[in-house]
């Protein structure tokens, strides 16, 4: 397990961090997002989608009601939201195990509602630090997660 903690000063910066993360993803991966309402999970996902090459013209919207939104980038992006789910049995009904990992990138919001979703992943916890400030805790599990986190750190630290 490898960890990294980073602060962002605005929604734009959270979005930029997501964009860098999207850019370094080269193979199927699982990203688990946790954080309170309004923490910025969808904001980060919007950045990840752009980094993955989902066209700017396509809005990345909340999947709370639809449960999963699919976007076409360099790799397919599966944007899940478990907010409305009540019990783990419903995950099975969603056919979620096919996406963890599947042929694309699965971003799962409210992942903390279901333990042990995936053995190899990058877990990201977003915490409020003020109206605009956020702290993001990254935790990489398994080889794919670790490689991803290293690549993200390197790109983020080299940005101008």
């Amino acid at each position: 397990m490898v960890e990294w903690v980073i602060d962002t000063a605005s929604a734009e910066e959270t979005n930029r961090l997501g964009r860098c993360l999207g850019q370094v993803i080269k193979e199927p991966a699982v990203l688990l997002l946790t954080g309170d309402l309004g923490a910025g999970k969808t904001c980060l996902t919007q950045g990840i989608a752009r980094g993955l090459g989902v066209p700017e013209s396509e809005p990345i919207v909340s999947p709370t009601y639809t449960l999963m939104n699919l976007y076409e980038g360099r790799l397919p992006l599966y944007h899940f939201d478990l907010y409305r789910l009540a019990d783990p049995g419903e995950l099975e009904e969603l056919g979620m195990e096919e996406y963890l990992p599947g042929e694309g990138v699965a971003v799962v919001e409210w992942a903390d509602r279901f333990d042990e979703l995936c053995q190899s992943c990058l877990a990201i916890r977003i915490c409020h630090r003020g109206p605009d400030k956020r702290t993001l805790h990254f935790c990489a599990v398994g080889s794919t997660g670790k490689m991803l986190l290293q690549a993200l750190q390197s790109v983020w630290n080299q940005r101008d």
Binding site: L37, P59, S62, L85
Partner: protein, 343 residues
């Protein structure tokens, strides 16, 4: 034509019998609680298994309530998308099996197309018109030039309006479904008590954003030392609702002015919201626009709404093959008439 229609795109399993695309003979929704409370979202019965358990029951019930025999049905319209593939496939597979065994034609209909044509089941709304489709999963503005002829003018860039109602309801400890509760409290409160943001209101586009209102309310709740209750709670609910419905009304009327469309249809679950109905009604009247709202049961996800487009397509000979597939992502602009059948 006498149509059987089937809807299973999200939480509700529904079947209806509709004559000539205008007359509802029956409209059965499986998880039908109080229809007035059906907007803003309910705890999901998303599981395909639950749709499977319900689908034959609602179809039998729809036929029985309509007083027609299975052999009387002349065609089937079914929601093809957008939605969860697993959920869509339940309705779609049932529709195909019935079309094949009964030897009758089948057509796939877009879920939002159903919503924005729903008022035609109750009254005559001449084309073209502007449609605001607003629910737990959608907040879209469409230009509707006729059945099967739609263009997206604007949409939410983050949360749907109904979702904002539900999440705010949860923040205030009011539970599910949030839309009805907030609407009721708002009626008792002062909509000017607190100034929540009106995102994108000044932007010249027809797009919406509701995520920021939710977050502003979160910070307000966190800034309070004591629980928000009583008259204070009503004021917060009223001020939040006012922010959402003002944005919805202002953007819709701006689109009506810009496009020159004189009629406005408001559809989807949030169209049940009394505050929205009142404000949209007042502002439209002031500017000379006519506004149409479906009855609450036609605002919820229901199968009867598929009858309008389904009947038009089948009557024109626009019939789907039995390899018709569900479409999880399906922009409304890509739905409608196949080119060769454009009337």
């Amino acid at each position: 034509m006498l149509l059987l229609t089937i809807e299973s795109s999200c939480d509700e399993t529904s079947a209806a019998v509709v004559r000539d695309g205008r007359q509802i003979l029956s409209n059965v929704i499986a998880s039908q609680v109080d229809v007035h409370a059906l907007y803003g979202g309910v705890v999901p019965e998303l599981a395909s298994r639950k749709h499977m358990e319900a689908v034959t029951v609602v179809i039998d019930d729809a036929l029985r309530k309509a007083g027609v025999a299975l052999g009387d049905i002349e065609g089937i319209a079914v929601t093809r998308g957008p939605g969860l593939v697993g959920a869509l496939l339940v309705g779609l597979s049932m529709a195909k099996a019935m079309a094949l065994s009964l030897g009758i034609p089948l057509v796939g209909v877009h879920h939002m197309e159903g919503h924005i044509l729903a008022p035609l089941l109750e009254q005559d709304v001449p084309f073209p018109y502007l449609a605001l489709a607003v629910s737990g999963g959608h907040t879209h503005l469409y230009r509707v030039d006729g059945i099967g002829k739609y263009r997206t003018l604007g949409r939410t860039l983050d949360d749907a309006a109904g979702e904002a109602f539900d999440k705010v309801s949860k923040l205030l400890g009011l539970g599910y479904p949030g839309g009805a509760v907030i609407d009721r409290l708002a009626a008792e409160g002062n909509p000017r008590a607190f100034d929540f943001p009106r995102p994108l209101l000044k932007k010249p586009t027809f797009d919406f954003s509701f995520s920021g209102i939710k977050t502003a309310l979160l910070y307000y709740v966190q800034s309070q030392n004591s629980p928000i209750e009583g008259a204070h709670l009503c004021d917060v609910a009223a001020s939040f609702q006012q922010a959402v419905i003002e944005v919805l009304c202002e953007k819709t009327l701006r689109a009506a002015r810009d496009t020159g469309l004189e009629r406005i249809v408001v559809a989807g679950g949030v169209a049940c919201n009394k505050g929205l109905r009142r404000l949209m009604g007042e502002r439209s009247a002031k500017e000379g626009f006519r506004v149409f709202f479906p009855s609450p049961i036609l605002c919820a996800d229901n199968a009867a709404m598929l009858g309008v487009a389904g009947d038009a397509y089948l009557t024109a000979g626009c019939v789907a093959d039995l390899d018709l597939n569900a479409r999880a992502n399906w922009p409304l602009d890509q739905a409608g008439w196949p080119q060769q059948l454009l009337p």
